[in-house]
């Protein structure tokens, strides 16, 4: 990363949820940044808090969730303290998001073309008929065949992959500077996954758009992203360029994740699962939330004050571990 400020910067972000069973500390002092035009992945198991992080950044958390510390900066704006009107001017225009479940993410009773138009109506001064043309063009840009006809379709008339294309068309309608893609390919078959990911990568490159890819698939992350941050139980444990992480992971969890990721040439037997499960976040947690599952745990791991720090050898490689590999 260069000296100038990154486009998107999450600093020290903590989120708690109030539930009937007590308070849940879902995010614990998260740091993350994405430079202009950069592709960054956040990788972590299901339930590690990836979506919550994205929702908190965009101000679309459930009412039960509260940001308890930290800030989220986008360009010159502090997203967490911005007035709603100003935030609404950014969301959908400069900063867009696509979601995990494409079918339910679309309004079921509004034709998909109209949903694109709603975003254009909010963020552009196009006339009604121009908006319509733009919506059709937008559907064509995500390679939907016969876009003028698809414009009138309802989400239930489209396949999951088609719905995700529509979602991408909505998100990119105003050519945002940053796209947060939350597991854009879960629930799609493998061929469609590749097509959708290639589509996002292609459109991102064409528009000079930065992408924050959220996924549980380390393979997908290293295929499409320059930098990867590894998240576990609401903590970022390690972050480095995809190549560095792949060649020499330093955090035991990262190494475990790689061992659990299918890759070319690997046999099924060589895949190992990660022992244990995500800790119960309603209970008080040790400084390193992975320590209860970690085979390299040592007495020092329970001492407070663990932070994500740059490696002496490589300032772009950040690590939060007392006993690294």
């Amino acid at each position: 990363m260069n000296d100038e400020k990154p486009l998107f910067e999450v600093t020290d972000l903590s989120v708690k949820f109030h539930t009937r069973l007590g308070e849940v500390a879902v995010l614990d002092h998260i740091h993350l940044n994405v430079g202009a035009g950069e592709t960054v992945a956040v990788v972590g198991e299901s339930g590690s808090g990836k979506s919550v992080m994205a929702f908190a950044a965009l101000g679309i958390l459930d009412p039960a969730g509260k940001v308890t510390s930290g800030s989220v900066r986008f360009a010159d704006h502090d997203l967490l303290t911005l007035r709603k009107a100003a935030l609404d001017d950014l969301r959908g225009r400069e900063l867009a998001m696509i979601f995990q479940a494409p079918r339910t993410a679309l309004n079921p009773i509004l034709p998909v073309g109209r949903q694109i138009e709603d975003v254009l109506a909010r963020h552009s001064d196009l006339s009604r008929s121009d908006r319509r043309d733009a919506a059709v063009a937008q559907l064509a840009s995500v390679k939907i065949t016969d876009p003028a006809k698809r414009y009138h379709n309802f989400p239930y008339e489209l396949s999951g992959g088609m719905c995700q294309r529509v979602m991408i068309a909505i998100a990119l309608a105003c050519k945002p500077r940053l796209l947060i893609a939350d597991e854009p390919t879960t629930g799609l078959d493998v061929t469609t996954q590749v097509v959708i990911m290639d589509l996002i990568a292609e459109l991102a490159a064409a528009n000079g758009m930065a992408t924050l890819l959220i996924t549980h698939d380390l393979g997908l992350a290293s295929d499409y992203c320059a930098r990867i941050a590894v998240m576990h139980a609401g903590q970022i444990l390690e972050s480095a360029s995809a190549r560095t992480l792949f060649k020499s992971p330093r955090h035991p969890y990262t190494a475990r994740l790689f061992a659990a990721t299918p890759r070319p040439g690997a046999t099924l037997e060589s895949l190992t699962s990660i022992p244990g499960q995500l800790p119960d976040l309603r209970q008080p947690q040790p400084p390193c939330r992975f320590s209860t599952r970690c085979e390299r745990v040592q007495p020092g791991c329970t001492e407070p004050g663990l932070v994500l720090t740059p490696m002496p050898t490589d300032s772009a490689h950040l690590l939060a571990c007392r006993n690294p590999l």
Partner: protein, 339 residues
């Protein structure tokens, strides 16, 4: 598209025929099972046994039940609902002349419930646990547990007896006035059409208390369904998408959230309307409202079979039509339901 709608309507109406047949049989049987002898009632308390027997013969009540039922079906097939002993009129004519009174009351009650219930539901869903939400909870709870005739009596006591703001609860119009020339049968509308504002004022004044009584009852399920439905929709993925796209709160609430809550709301409205048709019977009695409900109640007390049977059948037909319109409206809102 249009032909499909018509064929849908046609098949739905055909599909309702078995239920209507069941309604015809059941009301016929129940009327005969109830204690009470129409011939004795008609003949009066002083009549001799022979006189009663003679009247029974005149009314055709001495024949066997299957024969009576067969005759009844034959009459129905010709559109003849029979004759009321008490009014001496054909039941069909009585129902037609009294139905507008009931419909005017029910529709105004439903309007009151919708105009108050929907905003209450929306406000309490968008501000859960706020004071509006608490008020809504209080209103819906009392609305559900107070019997309507009791609400009606309390309103009469307060607004007529204590405060004197309302006219006497005696029908649709002050005795000083005569009904406006009939166009729709709704006195308020007909008075406006005739440009007769005094009659309009009187008709409205008579209408308010019974309509509020019914409306208060109808408000509870509407407000509650709006609140619950909207709460669910507001936490849905597509509302989150709309927010993430920066759409204004107004667009998110109307185009994305409320429109998706419309189907359960419409269904509740249909259900509430049919409840109201039933509850009318008591409220009409309390307010001496000359509708079909009080007509049926009086006939029931007199063991006058034909009006009760006619009333139940008319309500059943109304109910079928109502459900059909609700389904068509829901299909227009959500195309998945139109298939």
């Amino acid at each position: 598209m249009n032909t499909r709608i018509f064929s849908t309507i046609g098949s739905r109406l055909l599909g309702a025929l078995p239920s209507l047949a069941a309604v015809i049989v059941v009301t016929f049987v129940i009327m005969r099972l109830l204690p009470g002898d129409p011939a004795a009632f008609f003949a009066g308390p002083a009549a001799s046994a022979e006189a009663v027997e003679q009247i029974r013969e005149q009314l055709g009540l001495n024949r066997s039940l299957p024969v009576q039922f067969w005759d009844y079906l034959g009459d129905l097939a010709q559109g003849d609902f029979g004759q009321s002993f008490t009014t001496g009129q054909p039941v069909a004519a009585d129902l037609v002349s009294r139905l507008p009174a009931s419909l005017e009351l029910t529709i105004v009650a439903l309007l009151i419930a919708v105009v108050l219930g929907l905003p209450l539901g929306v406000l309490s869903a968008t501000r859960p646990n706020s004071w509006v939400d608490q008020v809504t909870r209080l209103v819906t709870t009392t609305g559900t547990c107070l019997p309507t005739f009791f609400t009606g009596l309390v309103l009469i006591y307060v607004f007529y007896y204590l405060l004197g703001w309302s006219p006497a609860p005696l029908g649709r119009l002050d005795l000083m006035y005569s009904p406006p020339p009939e166009v729709t049968g709704f006195y308020t509308i007909d008075a406006v059409l005739a440009g007769d504002w005094e009659v309009f004022r009187s008709a409205l004044a008579q209408l308010i208390l019974p309509a509020v009584t019914l409306g208060f009852f109808a408000l509870a399920p509407l407000a509650r369904m709006t609140r619950a439905g909207l709460l669910g929709v507001l936490s849905s993925d597509y509302v989150r998408t709309a927010r993430a796209c920066g759409l204004s709160s107004r667009v998110v609430l109307t185009r994305y959230a409320l429109k998706n809550t419309l189907v359960p709301i419409l269904n509740t409205m249909g259900m509430v309307f049919s409840y109201l048709l039933g509850i009318n019977v008591l409220v009409e009695k309390v307010f001496a409202w000359p509708g079909v409900g009080s007509y049926a109640l009086e006939a029931l007390v007199a063991s006058d079979y034909a009006p009760v049977q006619g009333f139940v059948l008319a309500i059943a037909v109304l109910y079928v039509l109502l459900n059909l319109s609700v389904d068509i409206a829901c299909g227009l809102v959500d195309r998945r339901l139109a298939r």
